[in-house]
Amino acid sequence: MSATSPTPSKPGRLNPGYGRWTPALFLAPAVLALLVIGIYPTIFALVTSFRRYNITRPRDGFPFIGIENYQKVLTDQTFWDTLGLTFRFFLTVMPVQILLGIVIALLLHKPGLGLLRSLARVSLVVPLATTYAVVGLIGRLVFNGNFGVANQMLGWFGLPPIDWLASSGGAFAAIAIMDIWQWTPFCALIFLAGLSMVPVEVEEAARLETSSKVALLRYVQLPYLLPGLTAVLILRSADVLKLFDMIFTMTRGGPGTATELISIYIQRVGFRVFDMGTASAQAILLLILTIMLSRLYIRVFYREIQ
């Protein structure tokens, strides 16, 4: 955490040496920019969400219809199914990413094998930097039913091929695997940072006390992993609500609606059905969900600054 180091009380503390409006001058450009590009469109979306706003029928005008869009969204089974699917996706990828992340972090933390260890550590950056849209394109090739390498690998283990992208379960598994590939390194890096916070003396002493790796993990290292775990859970849940690029290039939400997570669904209603009123109502609901998440995030991590 980067809490401000307490400023030593200097004579200049009472008279800070800058004018009352100086902070405002430095802040104004950034604040104005975010107001114009962030807040104004949000207000516009809020207004749109109370209108009938189908851009393929401009002749109808865009009349205010009160909360009709919200009623429609909240009683729309597909919307709830989509949210449920998003939640299921989160519950599918998260445990794998956490477990694999901890295992990788432990492997990278263990002393010895210096060169290979640094190579493996640096390689974690590769999935994180790969353009999300390209991850989806790679997934589409790897999980191809005819010439995909995924089925070839299943064959090595004597397993039958899977109709990955053409079946609901297969497509869901395929996007989950690509997400696990891309974001496990992120979890590993966070856990690795946690492990390196364990004071060296404490870890050495514990290694002398016990030869059990499990005990070491449970009683010495785990407490240092917990803050990272909370961070991972909150950030990844926000990510899953945002997840669009990879799924769009890999399955477009298909087959049917098997991989239609929330952002893909709203994009379809807004930009393929052009029902902007309904899509805006959905987006506002998603925004409320995100704000709740980020409040939680702030509560957990930035308490000490406040």
Binding site: A24, L34, I37, L119, T130, G228, A231, M276
Partner: protein, 272 residues
């Protein structure tokens, strides 16, 4: 004996980590070097005669060249703009005391958690009214919603680490606040500014949703171009993977430069 066994497990484990992180990347690059018959071979081939045909094809395709140029223009401009706007704000947050400071800071940071689709809808409608659809400007501006938070976060941290004695001394010499920022904080803050610039560039370069929704033909970015081959009966996989490699390689190199800061950049400081 068990020591040696432990070492073996460690060794194999690390090799598996390498295989896991690099395989899709490896598969993309090798696929871009296969000819069409090798690409469509079932089961897939691992050993083949590499060909540069697909790269030749994409480097002769004006559409791909111009999409890479558009991406470069947009990512560079939005990064510069984020720093010009964000660095002074970061300085204010790092060094001044004022009411509502922490709230303001949280507001900056929380912008990054918002799903792009929330803003994409209204921004599309607004840009349409203003005639900004399919321009560089609309993407440069909208990308600030995630670049400004990252610049503010990393630079605030960086500026705080600069000893305030320098500032006190400069003030005694009668330097104005702006001069202090310009002559002391900016030069000494270069490492933080560089890291946040690389992050901004990577995020902007990789972005698809806004680019897909807010632009058409005139300003097609590289990810959109790569996606646009995904139609038709037989997909040109070699061309797709070659384009993918061209898009991913530069950002991977950039990311390796900031790999030590990766966690910080991606978590907005939840851990250090």
């Amino acid at each position: 004996m068990s020591m040696r066994f432990g070492r073996l497990i460690h060794f194999v484990g690390l090799l598996l980590v390498l295989a896991f992180t690099l395989f899709p990347f490896y598969w993309m690059v090798t696929s871009s070097l296969k000819d069409q018959s090798d690409l469509l071979a079932s089961p897939p081939v691992w050993l083949f005669t590499p060909t540069l045909d697909h790269y030749r094809e994409i480097f002769e395709d004006p559409k791909i060249i111009s999409s890479v140029m558009h991406s470069l223009i947009i990512a560079t401009s939005t990064t510069l703009l984020a720093i010009v706007l964000g660095a002074p704000a970061a300085y204010a947050l790092a060094r001044f005391e004022f009411r509502g400071k922490s709230d303001l800071w949280f507001w900056f940071i929380s912008n990054r958690m918002i799903s792009p689709i929330v803003l994409a809808l209204p921004v599309y409608l607004l840009a349409q009214t203003l005639g900004l659809l399919d321009t560089h400007l609309v993407l440069i501006l909208i990308y600030l919603t995630f670049n400004l938070p990252i610049v503010v976060w990393i630079c605030t941290d960086q500026f705080r680490s600069i000893p305030s004695e320098l500032e006190q001394a400069a003030r005694l010499d009668g330097a104005s606040q702006f001069l202090i920022f310009w002559r002391i904080y900016l030069p000494l803050g270069v490492p933080g500014i560089a890291v946040s610039a690389i992050f901004s560039f990577i995020f902007s370069w990789n972005e698809l949703l806004y680019a897909l929704v807010l632009t058409r033909r005139a300003v097609q970015t590289a990810p959109v171009a790569a996606t646009s081959f995904m139609s038709g009966y037989e997909l040109p996989w070699g061309k797709i993977m070659a384009t993918g490699s061209v898009i991913v390689l530069p950002v991977t190199i950039f990311a390796l430069l900031v790999s030590r800061h990766m966690v910080r950049g991606l978590t907005m400081g939840a851990t250090k």
